[in-house]
């Protein structure tokens, strides 16, 4: 038999150990193998064909619980080529046949949509065919990314196998200064841990009652950039209950749980951060890069993605852009993370502010984040993006350079045409 079946003297557990024990058959600790129930399986458009092939040809199976499977058409939406259109057509047909949920073109980015639809909840296990599935940790769900076979096995069985991860404890202390955001905190965390600093591990973030749900999503989203299997934010205060989530008492980590590493981030000392090409952990103060890149023209600014395409991100950008224009020769792309974000931004005038400033608005979805469509970069171009990956070739040509930053810094950069902080924008802070 696998793991330990009896547990005479229960040891304190991390949050990952708690969730995997609860959703499995017995109490488990880091290093144990566990077979656990999966509460939601998410399939994105780009992997849908492989998923369907695994289900139908390799397993000869149908989803055990169709209501626990969601297909989201978001990575290349609307379709850009005939073969993409064909694959999406097959995904729609599969959903209609099997009764799994389908979120079609324009509904938004997988992680944002699942969160809005209540398909990730505290204590749940959510698997996605996309590496940024760590995002669900924002609401204390064990979210993890996997390949097509794992995803198909989970859909067919309602379960998955997991090695229970070691945990890294990250504690936030103090309060953010004005102009510093969750994105800056996340980049600092990646800088401190390094790109493989949490491989196989779960990052458990102790934030107290700081950070909104959206900010927690930004933090959990970037955990995979340190190699993590999951990024769990411990629920604190009223943050999640205000959104209507029930938080089970058992989900909290125990006092005295074992961590392989503990770090503390003093929020009060943080400055806006930027990740320079072409590793996410290549993180600098924006103020420093602004000097280094004084003479570098920024060709494209992209505000969107599962990291920073939410309403508060669009508000932060609009606050910088209100009454101003994007610099000549710079393109500003804004893609809301979901149809709901788009609606909210339409209703409160944010989109009008952005449009008047010269932004180009796109269909809710991933946009150019992975360089497939809607704004790929030419050789030598420079892009400042609110996304999560700046790898070589990620958004187009391999000789394009991508810098990752918060929406406020991205917006300031769009106005100035070079890397800038909001305070560099003339008249910033005055009422426009």
């Amino acid at each position: 038999m696998m793991g330990r079946m009896t547990n005479p003297t229960p040891r304190p557990q991390t949050m990952a150990e708690k969730i995997l024990s609860r959703r499995g058959t017995h109490t488990v600790y880091a290093g144990d193998l566990a077979v656990v129930e999966v509460d939601q399986v998410m399939v994105v458009d780009s992997i849908a064909q492989s998923f369907i092939q695994r289900m139908q040809q390799d397993l000869g199976a149908t989803p055990k619980y169709p209501e626990r499977v969601s297909i989201v058409i978001d990575h290349v939406a609307p379709a850009s080529t005939v073969s993409v259109a064909q694959a999406q057509k097959e995904a729609r047909e599969y959903a209609a046949q099997t009764g799994v949920r389908l979120f079609d073109v324009g509904r938004g980015i997988c992680h944002q949509v699942l969160m809005e639809e209540g398909l990730a909840r505290p204590g749940w296990i959510v698997l996605g065919s996309d590496s940024h599935s760590t995002t669900y940790g924002a609401v204390a769900a064990f979210g993890s990314g996997m390949g097509a076979t794992d995803i198909a096995l989970a859909a067919a069985s309602g379960k998955t196998w997991l090695k229970v991860p070691d945990s890294v404890k990250v504690t936030f202390a103090g309060d953010l200064r004005p102009g510093v955001t969750a994105k800056d905190v996340a980049l600092e965390m990646i800088r401190r841990l390094g790109a493989d600093g949490a491989t196989y591990q779960s990052i458990e973030m102790h934030a107290g009652d700081r950070f909104t749900r959206g900010e927690r999503m930004t933090l959990a989203n970037l955990c995979v950039e340190a190699g993590a299997k999951a990024g769990l934010v411990v629920p604190g205060g009223e943050i999640l209950t205000a959104y209507g989530y029930d938080i089970p008492e058992w989900v909290y980590p125990d006092e005295g749980a074992t961590y392989v590493q503990s770090i503390e981030i003093d929020l009060g000392t943080l400055n806006p951060r930027m990740s320079a090409p072409s590793e996410v952990d290549n993180v600098f103060d924006v103020a420093q890069l602004r000097e280094d890149l004084r003479d570098v023209h920024v060709d494209q600014v992209f505000i969107g993605t599962c990291t920073n395409g939410r309403i508060e991100d669009l508000h932060a950008a609009a606050n910088v852009l209100r009454g101003r224009r994007v610099a000549p020769g710079t393109r500003l792309l804004v893609i809301p993370a979901s149809s709901q974000v788009m609606e909210d931004a339409m209703a409160d005038g944010t989109l009008l502010t952005l449009q008047r400033a010269g932004a180009v608005l796109g269909t809710p979805g991933c946009g150019p984040c992975m360089g497939r469509h809607q704004g790929v970069l030419a050789p030598g171009e420079v892009c400042v993006s609110t996304s999560n990956r700046n790898f070589i070739g990620r958004m187009g040509d391999k000789d394009a350079r991508i810098y990752l930053a918060s929406p406020a810094v991205a917006a300031a950069t769009a106005v100035m045409g070079r890397v800038a902080l909001p305070e560099d924008v003339p008249g910033q802070g005055e009422v426009a």
Binding site: M1, M2, G3, T25, L33, V35, S50, D58, L59, G60, S129, S131, G145, M146, G147, A148, T149, D150, L153, A156, S157, K159, W161, D196, T199, Y200, G227, K229
Partner: protein, 164 residues
């Protein structure tokens, strides 16, 4: 006997199978002939069934593409031994039934060395003696006996270690 193919640190999924030779581009039947195409061009033509790959840290980092390990499976690679594996790739290996052992052999064995590997026990025999690799957990041994986790599930309708 099997031979050792030795690689360095951070062999990524593009090294294992470059994206442009993905099955849907190179062809379902031949894509495996492009395994390690750029970093070991002679590999696919000379690898023999059962040969063992040894690598350095973070083997298999990069994308979650499953066709990289699939190419190795088609070439009947006998096992991969590396001090650490990238997480999604490690799962893909086991799902497909390619034995993966977390152990550093790079200091002990040279490229081309003749060995034999018992994947059930993790015992690797080479000219100078034997090495006990950390055997795969019981859970995985059960799966490997059926070929892979996928094959195990298909046959039993459950995961290894789960009550029948």
């Amino acid at each position: 006997m099997a031979r050792i193919w030795k690689f360095g640190d951070s062999v990524n999924t593009d090294d294992i199978l470059p994206g442009k030779f993905a099955p849907f581009m190179a062809g379902e039947d031949v894509f495996q002939t492009f395994a390690f195409h750029y970093i070991r061009p002679e590999f696919a033509a000379s690898v023999r069934p059962g040969d063992v790959l040894i690598g350095g840290r973070n083997w298999g980092l990069g994308s979650s593409r499953e066709y990289a390990p699939q190419a190795l499976k088609k070439l009947q690679v006998g096992g991969i031994v590396a001090p650490s594996f990238a997480r999604i790739h490690y799962r893909n290996l086991l799902n497909l039934g390619i034995p993966a052992f977390e152990f550093d052999l790079t200091g002990l064995l040279e490229d081309g060395a003749e060995v034999s590997l018992d994947v059930q026990t993790g015992v690797l025999t080479h000219a100078g003696g034997t090495v006990q690799l950390p055997p795969p957990p019981e859970f995985l041994r059960e799966a490997l006996a059926e070929g892979s986790i996928l094959a195990f599930f298909k046959k039993h309708g459950r995961f290894p270690g789960e009550p029948a």
